[in-house]
């Protein structure tokens, strides 16, 4: 009902039509066609499990990686599948050569799960973690580049940053940050959890050392699909978080990097194998394909942000050039202290319970304590933002 103008597009997803779903960002949403394809793959697997896993899987993964790599602007040999970006960050950081006194650089907008990995490996190696304080609100992408560059010290070994931040929904100038860091001798790990499918990517030219992205978010693959790209020279150093047969397998066709990540114990490989189908299917939904999809989602995210900023009588905290398909706005002070980013905020619960609107409310360390972050995917329409604006007006009467 509330997404009538876009009903044709929304019909491709199995989302509850009674819920205004403005949180594609957290876990994505997978179109029914892609889920059906996954069901077929799974039935094929179960028809002949050994044939599928032992004789066919490697070739199927090669084909899926080739199609993914083309979408990412990368060489297929440099890309491996992982279950999620967090596990890729573990793979890179757990095997990074670190010495006592080395420093790892993150920002105060770093995603909590990955920050935990950084803290874990730093503690283990007696290294330290430096936290760059980023401006927020931010007026220009260069402010982010400058903040990272200024934080580099003589022992800074690696910096981790999000291509699109999770809490604030900002598109960082990834190539410029990477260039500034690498020219200072710092390795660059980019967590593009939200990037593939939201932004056009050319991994070969972005200048990172390591780049990971989720495919179950904005590529709309089934849950458990993500990738890790590693600069060729560094591949021998990177191992999966789960060591398995690939550590001593011999195969003239595939690198150790490919062999190790290609098998990390028996698991369901169908989410990975659905990536080509998700890329294909999403690419057919608008006449202009993926570029048009990204353009449309971004335009809707910006329009939605304007609608909400007006309702909240607040100014957007970042320039439009730093917005993709996510947008965050500060909420008026709701009185109660937020608990933890790990638990659903009471305001988020109220929006869901009283208004059937699913949208994340995110604790923020500085006043006004909370951000609200909206997402724009093909199944969303402007009407979704009007409904949210209406609900927010009731929650925060002027």
């Amino acid at each position: 009902m509330n997404r009538a103008p876009s009903a044709d597009l929304a019909a491709h997803w199995g989302l509850d039509p009674e819920v205004t779903f403005l949180n594609h960002g957290s876990f994505g949403a997978c179109p029914t066609t892609v889920l059906d394809y996954q069901g077929e793959l799974r039935a094929r697997l179960e028809r002949e499990p050994v044939r599928f896993m032992a004789r066919e899987l490697e070739g199927l993964l090669d084909a899926a990686r080739a199609m993914l790599a083309a979408f990412l602007g990368a060489r297929p040999e440099d890309v491996v599948f992982v279950n999620n970006a967090t596990s890729a960050v573990n793979a890179v950081l757990r095997h990074l050569p670190l010495e006592t006194g080395d420093e790892l650089l993150v920002s105060d907008q770093e995603y909590n799960a990955c920050r935990n990995v950084v803290d874990f490996v730093a503690r283990r190696a007696d290294a330290s973690v430096k936290v760059v304080r980023l401006p927020f609100p931010v007026s220009a992408p260069d402010e982010i580049v400058d903040a990272f560059a200024a934080a580099v010290g003589p022992r800074t070994r690696l910096a981790l940053f999000d291509h699109v931040t999770s809490q604030t929904g900002l598109v960082f100038p990834a190539a410029s940050i990477a260039a500034a860091l690498r020219e200072r001798g710092v390795r660059v790990l980019i967590d593009g959890a939200h990037a593939p499918g939201m932004l056009p990517l050319e991994l070969e030219s972005i200048g990172a050392d390591y780049y990971t992205g989720n495919l179950h978010k904005w590529v709309c693959a089934p849950k458990g699909a993500a990738f890790l790209w590693v600069r060729r020279e560094l591949q021998p150093e990177v191992r999966p978080a789960v060591i398995s047969h690939g550590a001593n397998a011999d195969d003239s066709q595939r690198s150790r990097f490919q062999l190790e990540f290609g098998w990390t114990g028996t698991d369901d490989p169908t989410a990975w194998l659905c990536v080509p189908e998700a890329l294909r299917f999403l690419g057919t939904l608008l006449p202009g394909g993926w570029p048009e999809l990204m353009r449309r989602n971004r335009a809707l995210a910006l329009r939605g942000r304007d609608i909400l900023a007006e309702a909240l009588a607040t100014a957007p905290p970042a320039p439009a050039e730093m917005i993709g398909s996510l947008a965050a706005l500060p909420l008026p002070d709701g009185g109660e202290e937020p608990r933890s980013y790990l638990y659903v905020d009471p305001l988020q619960t109220a929006l869901y319970r009283d208004h059937r609107i699913e949208v994340p409310v995110i604790p923020w360390p500085a006043p006004p304590k909370r951000l609200i972050r909206t997402s724009a995917q093909l199944y969303n329409t402007e009407q979704d933002y009007h409904l949210l604006a209406q609900a927010l007006r009731r929650m925060f009467p002027r």
Copy 2:
């Protein structure tokens, strides 16, 4: 056709009826009913992704763990889900406190993937790996206990062994080995990859420090379902292979151990959530439930072993008391050297290509170079073994 007498049972699986499938052991096989249930869970997830993942999942996992723990003879608090046994072995070994000169103990029948993990952590810590040579053929379970006990040295920190070996299909006397090792001050990690659903388990009384098992093998859950059990005192030390939000989450209801393993990045949780359904469904297929299922599978594995031993004119390499639902026999020397356990052996390919029989042929370091390992699950019948015996008689004429 070839499984006519058990057609009613085989009908619960989607296995190709044209293939004689004697390899349940490698990847298991999931009944259609359980797969359908997984499809429903996945549709429910996609209907409201945030509600499912952020509001409902923890409670659903608690319920699934409780039912699994009852099946395993364990306390629910001591059990966590993982995707496979290999990842549990990584979780334990990667976080084991090890010092230079410490020793890790494995046997020459250790599963390759897990041996690779042992080698990895030993190398990183400048520890060493000692390999116990086990007798094979073996005449009594005590020979295995004695071999492990005799191998313990002053610096032996931990021993890893399989409850049911992968290559040789033997049921090891896990409790006796564990007792002999622990009384010598050695921590015990048991890889029960094949055990749950094949053997009755009472984890509380087995005496291990760590125990992992797959649930996609003999419990017939969908791929990607396994568990790790850890002795209470050691839980604070064990971290998942993928560090995520749980490292700093606060929750008075759940231990750090539960929190960390309960979320290792966005993934498809439906295989874990299908475990109760797999336990329930498999338990209804025979009037005597799980005990009768295990008894039937073991009886068929032994009967099948006799049929094949006769065809190959060989003696079974282990006493019946060391057999569960797997059984291995040596094959006559086929001339050609086996390549690697990681690739399908040419004899295995020939059996599949020429006879439509799926059964693993496993390289073995001593003459006669190869073992053949059969599995017995409810969909198998004696006829499957007769077909294999016939094929082997043709391949190895006397």
